[in-house]
Amino acid sequence: MSGWDKFVETFFNAKVMWKYLPDILSGMVVTIELALLIVVTGLGAGLALALLRSLAIRPLNWLIIFVVDLFRSLPPLVIIVLMYFGLPYAGPAPSGFVSTWLSLAFVLMAFSEEIFWAGITSIPKGQWEASRSTGLSFGQTLFNVVLPQAFRLTIPPLTNRTISITKGTALGTVVAVTEILGQASSAMSNSYNPSPLMMGAAAYVVLFLPVVVAARWIESKFAWKR
């Protein structure tokens, strides 16, 4: 047997792959569910915090900045472990799935708040003044004039953050979430063969490549002729 054949036999073993394909697919479903929940709640909460911050209420802003800085500096794995193993001592005992979802949603919230906020503050003061001088209220100006311009600036950094944090769903393995990586690594130890891991890698590419493409499309859609 040549080196190449051995390599294929080890990493792309058809028999093993076929056997564990259903596991990987069910892992994909879990990962998709987790990722969608994280993206929707994380980005939604991040935007909400950025909007709250634009109201410029001092004590509230200190609180927002503290929470955001905390979740940006803690490793996501630590948050997941604390929530899953630590929180039950205080009462609620979230499942591994919920722990992973909430932990990563908090992290995405923190990062996206900063990105949305940077977008909002990058809009020149003159835009606010022009809009307010025609009688639009603070809120009307924010939603009709400032946010549409801010969103366009935030899409590239937001896409990067969203993808890197949703890839963190793999951390769910440590709290027994049966997502792609969890399924792949248990299949790997059951079959004594790394082929399931290759399938897992392929599954991630299949999941995230469309996200990158979609982000580029949204970006071009939001662009205006300068």
């Binding site: 003159g126 022009a130 001088s133 009688g135």
Partner: protein
Amino acid sequence: MATNHIVDARAIHKHFGTLHVLKGVDLKVDERELVFIIGPSGSGKSTLLRCLNRLEEPSSGSIVVDGIDMLNPKTDINHARRRIGMVFQSFNLYPHMTALGNVTLALRKVAGKGRAEAEALGRAALERVGLAERADHTPGQLSGGQQQRVAIARSIALEPRVMLFDEPTSALDPELVGSVLEVMRGLRESGMTMIVVSHEMGFARNAADRVVFMDDGLIVEQGPPAAIFETPSHERTRAFIGQIQRH
């Protein structure tokens, strides 16, 4: 508060931290009057203008515009601002909207017009500034002079009672200034009350009813353009006029 003036600002003071920018300014403007405010940079003329629609909050004083007490906390400031158009040095058009979108936004959101009516009014306003055929262009596709005319259309579409111009031609290339002044002259002829901060002396000379010279947060003197430009009574006015006419 009864007043015969459409703009009646009294004893306006404005502090920025330790900086005393306006030191008790009175400005009364009659209906249909065109008042030009000139003065060296830092004299407070732009701040005064921005106090009139409360983009800047005066530290003290009173401002009544078209019978509305602008500094009363009970005044609906958004409603009051509809009646006061403002044109900025840097145009400040919304870059993500077309010219028509810029003009119709406040018509729809503030004046409560439906889309069709807002667009009809918006197109009419663009027509008045000579840009009807540019309605679907975004600001990035327009020259500076065209952008400033769209900004003027954005204001006049709301049928303001007063228009404030804050150095409307200072950011323009010399060859584009004329088109903006042309639109301002048209507005003047239609009877619009206008307060203009600008150094377009030629325009001031033949279009203004009154020229106000400000220096160091105070109005130094005011009068008909000929009097201010030819026979200023204060040394500071004379020095300033001399300086700008040398250029």
